[in-house]
Symmetry: C2
Subunit: 342 residues, 2 copies
């Protein structure tokens, strides 16, 4: 490999590299209705009116979790949450999960069982069958992977790239909590390491909510369930995994629209605010850029807000879809306009 | 985790642990026709007569491949081969693949593109669309994962646990070659390390076939293609991934049968034999226990052998399915009977 160009992924940019790879794809198949670069994979067999949905992910020790503060039985739960939400955001219902666990020597069979119990707990939570598994060796780090299959009637499919100007931008629950939880866990780990004490017990009781959001988040199946009893459907929706701004950008670029966000309207829990205060950080950054919120971002025709609120109340209107020409703008509480597109 | 029982996976046994985990599964779904412990996952949507098939796998650097002799553009090809064969052995046709790549810092964007090209080459070979991808960071090792979806008419589904006494046990191609290739690569790597020379060039020209079988194996789609023009169907079939004996055991235990194998009938290439000779090892062990052959093991009613040979010739009859009471036996060329079941 000597004398060849070496550009790190960081230099190239992960998203740019993902786009470049997606453009290299040669073979297309009629069964694939929505493929690479379009969010959750949507397929349909020729004889069927229902679609299958698929999403998969990997968690690597040292990158996505730290065994010094992540209990083993939470890992599989979190992994399934991260992909179940993709299917819920598509209007679908997961039914089958396959699981891969690459186990380093430092883990015992009993520990693998604990990991498995987390997958099983998530499978019960999301009503899916664990339909396949692979157990393999790993030299140093624990690696978990999972792939989730679900279904949706084609008429009920919700996609990220169908937002229309004038629609409200809405979000379930509150944002930034997972990042706040991570901040606390990292701080307590550092204190524990510095204390050198075996009996050190971290003080987490004031932060139970944000820590639970970091370690054992639950996917939002309730939005779908509420809507299914109505004729309401989002214009577009996406699962918030890499941070609000990242996901809004995907929706609006995909839909060929702009947006404005009202930053004071972004829902942030008191506990998340308290963490940001303690850390002397800007809580808006947690909410705008923090990953792993696992809430659902969706757009809704303006007239439907009240109808939705009659059946489902845990959402906030945080902005509006604009024509593409009006760009991407955040309105702050102080009356400032921050442009993200230039 | 102190004072808790610590049994290593080795002590427990990987297969025993997999079985124990499979038995912990709580939730079942009607869409899942064949789930955990039954080989390739088979699902069916309520409105469909066709089934979907799924198989996934992970490759970890240092466990499943070594970057000092595995070219980057072969890794994805090999991974897709390893799971495409599962779908072919089920009588199915893959159509969509999702891919995960966890990239350590030592790899450049250009190297990730080379890996991707291997996936794309396999996608063309197996006529599948790469329908989704995830690029994530890794601290030290390269990890690849993939999940493949395919389809099969329910009437054409072939499963591993439907072998019947009296059927012939057949295998495509030849066995043990991937293990022979690995032996050569490991030896040449050792010589290279010992030489300390920058310009050391390994002598691989006499071993091209076995090295190709190790680094860039191709899944057997030809058996399916040949059979689809006939009314022939295997009784049972399985993709040979963990070694012939492992897979025969799965077929026969699953089917509630025994078997006898004629070891002189097991197809082994001349090059594989030559490697075993050089290594002073028993070539039968390569063929019986060597992993990653990616051939198909199948059973066939006795009368169908000639009919199959008329459309597909690259298979050998290596034994027979017996009633369970007759056990699991290998007949050697020297007239010995080796019992595997007690």
């Amino acid at each position: 490999m000597r004398n060849k160009p070496f550009n790190s992924i960081e230099e190239t940019g992960r998203r740019q590299l993902e786009e470049r790879l997606a453009n290299l794809i040669g073979r297309r198949r009629d069964e694939v209705l929505r493929g690479i670069g379009k969010g959750t994979t949507v397929c349909r067999l020729p004889d069927s009116t229902d679609c299958t949905l698929q999403s998969g992910s990997m968690l690597l020790e040292g990158v996505h979790f730290d065994l010094s503060y992540s209990p083993l039985h939470h890992l599989g739960f979190k992994l399934l949450t991260s992909i179940a939400g993709d299917l819920y955001a598509s209007g679908g219902e997961p039914f089958a999960a396959t699981i891969g666990i690459a186990v380093p020597n430092k883990l015992s069979s009993e520990m693998v069982e604990q990991i498995w119990q987390g997958f099983d707990a998530a499978a019960r939570e999301y009503s899916v069958e664990i339909s396949g598994s692979e157990l393999t060796a790993s030299h140093q780090i624990l690696v978990l992977s999972s792939n989730l299959t679900g279904k949706v009637a084609e008429a009920d499919l919700i996609v990220p790239d169908h937002a229309r100007p004038g629609e409200l931008i809405c979000v379930t629950g509150d944002l930034g909590a997972a990042m706040a939880g991570l901040r606390i866990l990292v701080r307590e780990k550092k204190l524990w390491e510095e204390s050198g004490e075996d009996g050190f017990s971290p003080d987490l009781k004031d932060f139970e909510y944000v820590i639970q959001r970091q370690l054992a988040p639950v996917a939002r199946k309730d939005l779908n369930e509420a809507m299914s009893s109505t004729d309401l459907r989002p214009g577009a929706a996406i699962h918030i995994k890499r941070g609000l701004i990242h996901e809004i950008d995907l929706i609006c670029r995909g839909s060929g629209t702009g947006f404005e966000l009202y930053s004071p309207a972004i829902p942030i829990s008191l506990e998340t605010r308290k963490v940001a205060d303690e850390m002397k950080e800007d809580v808006d950054r947690y909410a705008l850029y923090g990953g792993e919120d696992f809430e659902i971002l969706f757009t809704l025709p303006e007239n439907d807000e009240e109808k939705l609120r009659a059946v489902f109340d845990d959402f906030s209107v945080i902005g509006k879809v604009l024509p593409e020409s009006e760009g991407m703008v955040i309105q702050t509480g102080e009356g400032e306009s921050i442009r993200l597109d230039g």
